[in-house]
């Protein structure tokens, strides 16, 4: 429970920062202020200024938006395509469709995700949209495999059998009976994938293949800070901390959610 609260708190902070940035940031991050570059953290600039004189605190806020948007959409793609595939495979378990779907998944799994994401963005051009697609594709097999596994266990249960006796099609059973029962599992996995998505976005941006300037991104802030680290370490410190704390928060939340949603543990608590 403590994990869940701590994780949720951290996550809320960053989601709030991202949401608030739509209506307010302490400074305009589009306006460069070269004379005030590389300032140390101070009362005016809480996190200091970067090599163009932009307020790092404001950039972290807007950067949170980029990270969260990319990760949410990528996980959305993964869930939206992966879960139906997994449910279909489970409904046709042992059949040729099951084979095709799952071997296709194995194929995608066989590639190192970040390397292929780099390939995709290098071929189709670097942009936030391509980063979302690249990260999203690698979320598909995660959800497909997990949902198939969980659904397989349910298909042999009595309540499914009674649904089948009642004449419901397997598609209807999947949607009406299987999906609600694997929802918790998907939410927990989604949280974990969300944190991986944030890391992947930061990684792609770091090598210049994520969101393009002037859209701020934590990964690119780190890359920009690289040669300046010895004279202005705060340039790397704050985006680095933002990535660490967000990922930590999401992982703690995922852990906490699993404990909380797990029916067996819920029984214990009661």
């Amino acid at each position: 429970m403590r994990n869940l609260i701590l994780g949720a708190a951290l996550t809320t902070v960053f989601v709030l920062a991202a949401l608030i940035s739509f209506i307010f940031t302490p400074y305009d991050i589009a306006a460069l202020d070269i004379p005030n570059k590389l300032q140390q953290p101070s009362a005016q600039h809480w996190f200091g200024t970067d090599h163009f004189g932009r307020d790092i605190f404001s950039m972290i806020m807007v950067g949170a938006r980029t990270s969260i948007a990319v990760a949410v959409l990528a996980v959305g793609i993964g869930m939206g395509l992966g879960i139906p595939l997994g449910l279909t495979a489970a409904a046709r378990r042992g059949g040729w469709l099951d084979e095709i779907i799952m071997r296709g998944n194995d194929l995608v799994f066989a590639f190192p995700a970040l390397v292929i994401a780099i390939l995709i963005t290098a071929v189709f051009g670097a942009s936030a949209v391509n980063a979302i697609i690249a990260i999203g594709i690698f979320n598909i097999p995660v959800f497909a495999r997990l949902s198939r596994g969980a659904a397989l266990g349910l298909w042999s249960r009595d309540f499914i059998l009674s649904a089948r006796v009642a004449g419901k099609s397997s598609a209807r059973i999947s949607v009406e009976h299987i999906l609600p029962n694997i929802g918790n599992l998907m939410i927990v996995q989604g949280t974990i994938q969300f944190s991986l998505g944030i890391l992947a976005e930061a990684g792609l941006s770091y090598v210049g293949l994520g969101a393009q300037p002037p859209t701020p991104s934590w990964g690119r802030m780190l890359a920009d800070a690289q040669t300046l680290v010895s004279i202005a370490p705060h340039l790397a410190l704050f985006p680095g901390m933002a990535i660490i704390l967000t990922v930590l928060g999401l992982n703690l939340m995922g852990d906490g959610l699993r404990d909380w949603l797990d029916p067996r543990l819920r029984v214990l608590r009661a």
Binding site: A30, A31, L32, I34, P35, K37, H51, F52, G53, G125, A126, G208, Q212, P213, P214, Q226, T227, L228, S230, I231
Partner: protein, 488 residues
């Protein structure tokens, strides 16, 4: 028994500090091949110019033209005939003799129909090349060419031998003070002293060029003293640290690099001079120099090197004036601005400068979508494919404003009046008249706002404190090590 030599060596190095006779120099880019007469890449000259290859004339470090393989020359009164007398006793690194036949071969090869020379224009005015005797060559021009001796100093005009010309790309054979020894691709090129050099021999026994393009790695390599010098250090923000460190010296020199915001003159809306003028007035050069180059660089108002005597300061024509810029955009029919692309090659002047320029353009209503490209991609898509609205690049060839006379060059200017000035300039030898024409040319491209003229690139060199004799300025892209030595 085996201890003795080791101890002796130890005593020697600890006591007398053996005079160092080798150097490791880092540069950013690796040459794609080693033949300057068949490749455009500046990195070829960085490594090989003067060190391995020499021409009839050559650049001194201050940009003046001094004798190279030609000892003296005579120019006929009509400016059409150049008679070069060559130095005696010059041999190529493979042992063959360098004589008038080699000069004729090199010039004919460079201007021939199947020549792959990247600067064929340098040789265009040559009509005939005749061998008078083994040490005398007569070059006849079809029209007077004011800067012919300057042209012959370029890395593209070096003298090569027919025996080795076909394999220069991997096995460079020249007449220079260093011989090529080894090329470990992706890592380094090694040169050794040429014991049979015709002139003053090099001080150094061996020289190694290393290629480090990543700014962070460059910083680490110099700090850890893995390299003795870094010519063209890629991270200007780190220079103050080296200046404060007594182990190092920092030299900041001029280059011939006009850094420009190139505009696609044939593509709407940049085919409209008002739009180009608006872009020029939207740019604040000083904040680009401060923000992208940490203060290194001289503002320019046209495509010409400010340290050249014929330079005219035209920066006033394109002063930073966002209000005027907005007005011009409105007059051109873009009161609400427009959207275009800004393609950026890897160097920090382009990547950082591009972010600053995009922000300045946004302030007047122009949305420049940044697209970062690697060099290969930039050359293919932007430079050759001309698929761009705006791009930033530094033109590092000396006296290269004749590119504006080429209508097919990527920014596609080539106005007939400008071509006429260039033709006249080529045919003029009188220094005063030449200066006047060069200034006319500078004014024309500045008044036509062909490109956004940003700044003259400065080249920072970081070296160990006791390295001496490195070039300060870069009159041509070269890391001439023939005069380099260690102080101790």
């Amino acid at each position: 028994m085996r201890l003795i030599p080791i101890l002796a060596a130890f005593a020697l190095s600890a006591g007398t500090a053996i005079a160092q006779d080798s150097i490791t120099v880092a540069i950013q880019l690796e040459p794609p091949n080693l033949d300057p007469t068949a490749g455009a890449a500046g990195a070829i000259d960085s490594v090989l110019y003067s060190n391995v290859y020499e021409g009839l004339t050559r650049f001194a470090s201050d940009g003046t033209i001094i004798p190279g393989l030609a000892d003296t020359w005579e120019i006929s009164d009509d400016g059409l005939t150049y008679t070069f007398s060559l130095r005696d006793g010059v041999t190529f690194h493979d042992g063959t003799t360098m004589d008038a036949e080699d000069v004729k071969f090199s010039l004919d090869r460079a201007r021939g129909d199947d020549s792959t020379n990247a600067q064929k224009g340098l040789f265009a005015p040559i009509d005939t090349v005749e061998v008078v005797d083994p040490l005398t060559v007569r070059v006849t021009l079809s029209a007077p060419m004011g800067n012919f001796l300057f042209n012959m100093a370029w890395g593209d005009a070096v003298i090569v031998a027919p025996e080795s010309a076909d394999t220069l790309a991997t096995l460079p054979i020249g007449t220079g003070a260093f011989k090529f020894q080894d090329w470990a691709q992706g890592d380094r090129i090694e040169l050794v002293r040429n014991p049979d050099y015709w002139g003053t021999p090099a001080h150094l026994e061996r020289a190694t060029f290393k290629f480090i393009s990543d700014p962070t790695a460059a910083f680490a390599a110099v700090m850890a003293e893995d390299v003795d010098a870094f010519v063209g250090f890629p991270a200007p923000e780190n220079l103050p640290q080296f200046e404060a460190d007594s182990r190092f010296q920092v030299l900041v020199g001029n280059t011939e690099g006009e850094t420009i915001l190139a505009m696609n003159n044939k593509m709407p809306p940049f085919d409209n001079i008002k739009v180009r003028q608006a872009v020029a007035h939207a740019i604040d050069r000083q904040s680009i120099i401060d923000g992208a180059m940490f203060g290194l660089g001289t503002p320019i108002g046209t495509h010409f090197a400010p340290h050249h005597p014929a330079y005219v300061d035209l920066t006033d024509l394109s002063q930073f004036d966002p209000e005027l810029s907005k007005k011009l955009l409105a007059e051109a029919g873009f009161a609400d601005g427009f959207e275009t692309t800004l393609k950026l090659p890897p160097p920090s002047y382009a990547r950082r400068g591009g972010e600053i320029i995009a922000s300045q353009l946004r302030a007047v209503g122009i949305t420049a979508k940044i697209e970062n490209q690697e060099w290969a991609q930039w050359l293919e898509n932007t430079f050759r494919g001309k698929d761009f609205g705006l791009t930033i690049v530094s033109h590092t060839e000396p006296m290269d404003f004749s590119i504006y006379a080429n209508p097919d060059y990527y920014f596609q200017y080539g106005k007939p009046e400008f071509i006429a000035i260039m033709d006249e300039l080529n045919a003029t030898t009188a220094p005063d008249a030449r200066t006047a024409l060069m200034q006319d040319a500078q004014r024309m491209i500045a008044q036509d706002y062909v490109n956004g003229f940003l700044f003259e690139l400065a080249i920072p060199t970081v070296a160990k404190a006791d390295v001496q004799g490195l070039w300060l300025n870069q009159p041509t892209q070269a890391v001439d090590l023939t005069g380099v030595s260690w102080a101790n």
